[in-house]
């Protein structure tokens, strides 16, 4: 006993000692470090610039922290910055985006989850064909469909309105979301569905009482996808809406690119950070929820 504890070469016993600097660890942490720098450095520059006033910005030390911290650029970006047409800042675009985002996310996820559920459990004649057409839809470039959609929206009388844009977002979200939900529900054991049918639950009963409660993780994934996708959308916003209901991204572009006067880099940085805030918050909030959802989901029953 005593000799074993004294001698440095211990007989193998208990947990195997791990080397801190194994090649695998060096690779993993090295890569993580480089990637973090790559993403965090620009963010750092943006935050710093947005907190300086213009005289300090003109001095050009983009990496140095502000000598005097000012929130002026943020206030200006939110409430006073001028686009070509008006001068009430990003706030208008923010509320437009919110009004586009909420109905688009809710409607697209509601429809796609039900159709994914129907496609995996209630197969009907031609359901495979329907699904394949939907998937092909995911691969058609948006640009090809822009003009036809303009015509369709005009005929429906919703061209240039928020309703029209919500419809477009819902439809374009459908292929990928349906695929997502169908694949998730396909992993739910079929016997669960059979048991619910024997128990007398119908199409909606099974969806609401059995499937919904066990699909929190996939809903979180769908919400992340849709919120970031729709919030960051520029093309549809610019094509299908009018200036006074432009989403935030379009308005950001107009502020940054407006040619009157001097370029206010600090305001532009603040405006960009404000626009990026929503997806960022979604990642932080839902990331936690996501992990918890998976852990609590424990689909096996």
């Amino acid at each position: 006993m005593s000799t074993a504890t004294q001698s440095p070469a211990k007989t193998p016993r208990g947990p195997k000692p791990k080397r801190a600097f194994s090649p695998a660890n060096i690779m993993i942490y090295g890569t993580l470090f480089v990637v973090s720098i790559y993403y965090l450095l620009p963010l750092y520059v943006m935050v710093m610039t947005s907190l300086k006033d213009m005289t300090e910005v003109r001095m050009g030390n983009i990496f140095s922290p502000p000598v005097e911290i000012t929130f002026e650029p943020w206030v200006k970006a939110w409430a006073e910055a001028c686009t070509g047409i008006n001068c009430d800042g990003l706030s208008r675009g923010f509320w437009n985006s919110v009004r586009i985002l909420i109905p688009s996310v809710v409607v697209s996820i509601a429809v796609a989850s039900v159709s994914g559920y129907a496609l995996s459990f209630w197969r009907f004649k031609g359901s495979e064909l329907f699904f394949n057409i939907l998937i092909v839809g995911a691969f058609i470039p948006y640009q090809i469909m822009l003009y036809p959609i303009v015509i369709i929206l005009r005929e429906l009388g919703v061209y240039g309105t928020l309703t029209g844009l919500v419809m477009v977002h819902t439809i374009f979200g459908m292929p990928i979301l349906t695929l997502l939900f169908r694949n998730y529900f396909a992993s739910v054991p079929e016997e669960l569905f059979k048991a619910a049918r024997v128990d007398g639950a119908g199409f909606w009963g099974i969806y609401v009482q059995i499937m919904l409660p066990m699909s929190l993780p996939i809903f979180v994934v769908a919400i992340i996808l849709q919120v970031t996708g729709i919030w960051n959308d520029f093309l549809f916003g610019v094509v299908f809406t009018k200036p006074d209901i432009y989403p935030m991204t379009v308005q950001l572009n107009n502020i940054v690119n407006s040619v009157q006067g001097v370029k206010e880099y600090n305001v532009n940085m603040a405006a960009t950070l404000l626009t990026g805030m929503v997806p960022l918050v979604i990642y932080f909030v839902s990331g936690k929820l996501f992990v918890r959802g998976i852990a609590a989901g424990a689909v096996k029953g």
Binding site: P189, A195, V198, D199, G200, Q209, P213, A298, K300, G301
Partner: protein
């Protein structure tokens, strides 16, 4: 077979195909009220498919299904008066045990106090009262399967359908639950249909066993009948472990000719009037006598010991007789050495004869 007057379940000319694949072909089955029927067959023979048809989870291609005298071919599963228990338990993961038990009753809008009474009764029978507030993830396999049985129990149905309910459990638990299911059947007196590919479950539980192959029922009879009078060579091979030994030869005027000699078939109960022709003679390993006993048997052979598997209670020995391999079940105390010649004897009353071409019993 005697006609059942008021069958609990009656399946008439049932066909089922998945596209071009015919899984069930013109299947007929009458099950008496309160009977425990086991569907037994190798994997892929259509047992689960048949059970799903009875439950109404699959639309039949042709034929009728009657339950308790009512034609339910077009009825929804919940309207058929059946409860079903699945191999994977299929408990609703986000509901408590109580929620699982009451789900069907809530869907059927059964009054609250009635639900409570039925849950209490079922929980008592299955001894799951302390588990009612738990989620399925917090239960062991055996407890989950009890809850799954409870879910069928509370629905107060005439017919229980089990699809391999015990095959996810370990051997000990399987044996315990097997006994419990049998007791449950005696207590409730419901009709039960039970799918398995475990012979022991089939033999111990069933009033009658339906042996299936390729979507057909080959024989539907009591375990005794299936073991002692298998209707064809497949059934004979399927039941019994190790499987029955077969000798190829021919029947000729009450005698069996084969490479091992000519033996009298005195005492064999022929089912056909003209059995003569090429045939297989089958004999189960446990019906082969060895040692001194062999000398008293009418048919005697001699075999060389190739291989010995001592199981404690008895010893399985593989021998070569002529150029044929045979398994013999010997007493556990028997001492045999590899290469040794041992006498083997059996009597025609315990043998089985099957036509070589049709494989039907002679």
């Amino acid at each position: 077979m005697d006609q059942i007057v008021n069958p609990s379940i009656s399946i008439k000319n049932l066909d089922l195909s998945f596209g071009a694949v015919e899984v069930l072909k013109n299947l007929n089955l009458d099950i008496a009220d309160g009977e425990f029927v086991v569907l037994l067959g190798s994997s892929g023979c259509g047992k689960s498919t048949l059970l799903n048809c009875i439950a109404g989870l699959l639309d039949v291609s042709d034929g009728e299904i009657h339950i308790s005298g009512k034609n339910v071919t077009w009825e929804e599963p919940s309207q058929r008066g059946i409860g079903m228990v699945f191999q994977s338990y299929a408990l609703y993961p986000q509901m408590t045990v109580e929620g699982n038990l009451t789900f069907g009753l809530r869907n059927a809008r059964v009054p609250k106090d009635e639900i409570a009474a039925r849950v209490e009764k079922a929980a008592k029978i299955l001894q799951i009262e302390p588990l009612l507030k738990r989620k399925p993830a917090a239960l062991s396999g055996g407890q989950r399967q009890r809850v799954a049985i409870g879910r069928a129990l509370v629905r107060d149905v005439d017919v229980f359908l089990f699809d391999e309910p015990l095959s996810n459990l370990d051997a000990k638990l399987r044996a315990d639950l097997r006994v419990e299911i049998k007791q449950l059947h005696q207590q409730l007196g419901n009709t039960m249909i039970y799918v398995t590919h475990d012979q022991i479950e089939a033999m111990t539980l069933a009033d009658r066993i339906a042996i299936m192959l390729n979507g057909n029922v080959l024989q539907f009879a009591s375990p005794y009948e299936i073991y002692n009078h298998p209707a064809n060579k497949y059934v004979a091979t399927f039941i019994g472990s190790p499987t029955m030994n077969f000798i190829e030869g021919s029947v000729h005027g009450g005698k069996f000719d084969s490479a091992l000699g000519t033996h009298s078939l005195d005492g064999y109960d022929f089912t056909t009037p003209s059995p003569d022709g090429p045939a297989w003679l089958g004999i189960r390993p446990e019906h082969m006598a060895t040692g001194d006993e062999a000398a008293n048997k009418p048919i005697q052979l001699e075999g060389r010991v190739e291989f010995v598997e001592p199981l404690g209670s008895d010893t399985l020995t593989r021998v070569t007789v002529g150029d044929q391999h045979m398994w013999v079940r010997m007493d556990g105390q028997a001492q045999v050495k590899i290469g040794e010649m041992i006498p083997i004897g059996f009597s025609a009353t315990q043998a089985h004869l099957f036509d070589t071409t049709t494989e039907e019993r002679l």
